[in-house]
């Protein structure tokens, strides 16, 4: 069996990571490998004192008291060089424990300092040290009303690194997670449903190993992301009639190296106590996966262009159910001309705890473009006025060129998506084939 190493960086990364392990334990009894990195002791200490303390080896932790001050440059340049050796050592140890290391999952936020700066620094380290191991990054992008003023700077500087050193990026934003939670709360509390919602079946539920009360709305949101990661790795961990390994995700969903941003959606959000799931419910699960309300990023894949789409199904679902739904939904979706049947599918027999079946959809779709464009706009608003720039430039190794390079990297990416969108409503033509002399 293959293993993955989870790298949790920064406050956000570690809080999500914590939820992930919580849920992972629910699915297995095994101990997995993790490296926890934070520049503030608070978060990591909390983990160490909780019921998950036995899961993590204290030797896997790297902490520093001061934090990165929401400054990408501090996270990337200062802590990067300061802790490079130590971090590398931890990675090597983790990798040694693995029978066959397939993938690094990096979990971080883009808007802050540690997750964003140090997190992306690590990408380069991992690429150099373990070139054959995939780097999957789950990045929390800042929402419109973000409390960190410099989040656009941090995000764009981080994006350049993601463009160049990540194999796959799953962008997620807090607003979408929040909207999903609101939707669940509404459904659960409305009493409109005849049957009751199964306890522990919410995509936001934790296993209860952590403290019961939802201290912050982030707990529920983090659980959604944790569920995403669990579903992503389910085929590698359990058996099924059509397995999908993580290396297959990259192979099928990344047609060009730079276009490796995948919008994700998880359905269902909750399960009703109705044990016998008739096909209509199952089909609803597939329909929901494409609705903009279920995406973990503010994006509408249905009205943009698909380059490729993966459907990872768990539970008692057969190939015929899968095929029927693809046929049904295909007409309402637009795929790029050279990938009209760009579907990658997998079936894993073991459903998530509390569900009879579930679906994770990953879309390589031009609907990510607006997120990037907004980010660029917010960046330019700050940058034009040189606001807060000195905090970055005073860090050794940082120059204005870092900023200009980062923004042009993003512009180039946006342009790629623009070019694809331009082909959207064009009729699909079969190209002339090679002619053979008989």
């Amino acid at each position: 069996m293959t293993q993955s190493v989870v790298v949790q960086v920064g406050q956000c990364g570690n809080q999500i990571g914590c939820c992930f392990w919580d849920l992972a334990l629910r699915e297995h009894a095994a101990v997995n490998q993790a490296v926890l990195i934070d520049m503030e002791e608070g978060v990591v200490n909390e983990i160490l004192q909780g019921p998950l303390r036995d899961v993590f080896d204290t030797k896997q932790l790297i902490t520093d008291i001061s934090g990165s001050g929401n400054n990408w440059a501090v996270g990337h340049k200062v802590f990067g060089s300061l802790y490079q050796d130590q971090i590398l050592e931890k990675f090597r140890k983790s990798a040694e424990h693995c029978d066959c290391l397939q993938c690094f999952f990096i979990i971080h936020s883009m808007g802050g300092g540690t997750g964003s700066g140090l997190g992306t620094f690590l990408l380069k380290v991992l690429e150099d040290e373990f070139p054959e191991v995939y780097r999957f990054v789950t990045s929390i992008y800042p929402s419109g009303e973000d409390d960190v003023i410099t989040s656009p700077y941090n995000s764009i500087l981080a994006m350049k690194e993601l463009n160049e050193h990540a194999d796959c990026v799953l962008p997620i934003d807090n607003q979408s997670l929040f909207d999903i939670i609101s939707k669940i709360d509404l459904m659960v509390n409305s009493g409109k449903l005849g049957t009751t919602v199964k306890p522990k079946s919410l995509v936001t539920s934790s296993s209860g190993a952590l403290k019961k009360q939802h201290k912050k709305p982030f707990d529920a949101m983090n659980n959604i992301v944790a569920n995403l990661l669990l579903n992503l790795t389910s085929s590698a961990r359990f058996e099924g009639s059509l397995n999908m390994d993580l290396n297959e995700i990259s192979m099928n969903l990344v047609p060009f190296p730079q276009l490796h941003y995948l919008v994700s959606s998880l359905t269902p959000l909750y399960t009703l106590t109705d044990v016998n799931i008739p096909p209509r419910r199952l089909d609803q699960m597939f329909s929901d996966a494409f609705s903009k309300d279920h995406q973990l990023l503010r994006a509408d894949p249905k009205h943009s262009l698909y380059l490729a789409c993966a459907l990872m199904v768990r539970g008692n679902v057969q190939i015929s159910d899968l095929r029927r739904n693809i046929e049904r939904l295909k007409p309402s979706l637009q795929f790029v001309s050279w990938n009209q049947e760009g579907w990658k599918t997998s079936l894993c027999s073991v459903p998530p705890v509390g569900h009879s079946h579930s679906l994770l959809a990953l879309a390589n779709n031009t609907c990510v473009k607006p997120t990037f464009m907004e980010l660029k706009e917010r960046f330019m608003r700050l940058y034009k006025k040189k606001a807060h720039l000195h905090h970055y430039l005073q860090v050794e190794g940082m120059e204005e060129s870092c900023f200009t390079e980062a923004v042009s990297s993003l512009s180039a990416l946006i342009q790629e998506y623009d070019q694809l969108d331009a082909t959207k409503n064009m009729p699909v033509q079969d190209l002339p084939r090679l002619s053979i002399a008989m």
């Binding site: 397995n243 390994d245 297959e248 990259s250 599918t345």
Partner: protein
Amino acid sequence: MRENEAYQASCKERFFSEEENGVPIARAVLVDMEPKVINQTLSKAAQSGQWKYGQHACFCQKQGSGNNWAYGYSVHGPRHEESIMNIIRKEVEKCDSFSGFFIIMSMAGGTGSGLGAFVTQNLEDQYSNSLKMNQIIWPYGTGEVIVQNYNSILTLSHLYRSSDALLLHENDAIHKICAKLMNIKQISFSDINQVLAHQLGSVFQPTYSAESSFHYRRNPLGDLMEHLVPHPEFKMLSVRNIPHMSENSLAYTTFTWAGLLKHLRQMLISNAKMEEGIDRHVWPPLSGLPPLSKMSLNKDLHFNTSIANLVILRGKDVQSADVEGFKDPALYTSWLKPVNAFNVWKTQRAFSKYEKSAVLVSNSQFLVKPLDMIVGKAWNMFASKAYIHQYTKFGIEEEDFLDSFTSLEQVVASYCNL
């Protein structure tokens, strides 16, 4: 009774070797680059209590090929060549009279396709006197693997060079059989594989070696190749079975050889995938017409021209079955006489639950359209260079793709011009 024993003995000898305690061991080598499926396969076989796979007949690694043909062919292949060929050699040495290899693989993924092609090539190098038939699973048109068309063209073009015959099974066709004929509501891969196994069994289970003899054919693989692949440019074979039905329907149906053979013949000439929805308005061109007209008629009426056909009949009163309909010269190309192009094998012994059953193994234009489609889709994708970096990363260059396209366009053209 003795008949039954002879049949079983022939079957056993062909497919199994025996262990000390009498448990038959399949003459098989299992190869995969990740362990889950092989482990499942081994335990399922052992569960039956009646046979098993050899303990040392498997080769497994920890991490798959990522649906990447280049990885399977250029990385896994050379890396594990020695180990895999060793296991194969040991298995071959156990055979008294070894005729050849039957290689089962899919075209859509990375290991079956890429490593499968690599191994077949090795077999051609090391066992050039032995026969090789590849059984290849043709993926569903949509929704399995996005790069399946690339993997397929690379597989087919390579196998065309190193294999002797390609026996192709289409997932879409088998799926329809499960849905329409077997009435299965929620079709699983297990159902699909059962139908496939049934089709293979109908072909490879023992049959008599000649009209009046009661000895079983000793080299079915060799005989099959000899009958069906008269020319190396034409290697694509497909299987049509009749009947296919659920247990329930079977109880209420009786079959006649005349009825079965009539349907089978119509399936052949109208290019039907199964025995329902057969286009009854297709008929062979009138003989005596000059070749040019014959070709245009073919195109209009979707008539399926054959190079060679083999019909295998199993069941009661098989001697009374009349196969004259398959000897009509109009069914075949002009460069082989029907006496050479058509063969029939028989056995009184019924197969599976069917009192009478017939299978057609055909080298005909059956697969031209699917092949043409795959080549077309792969070509469209190739023109945009999408996913190519995933292959060049492991040594399969654009030139290799172009070579594959060229070979397959050649195959399509050859079959079209029959």
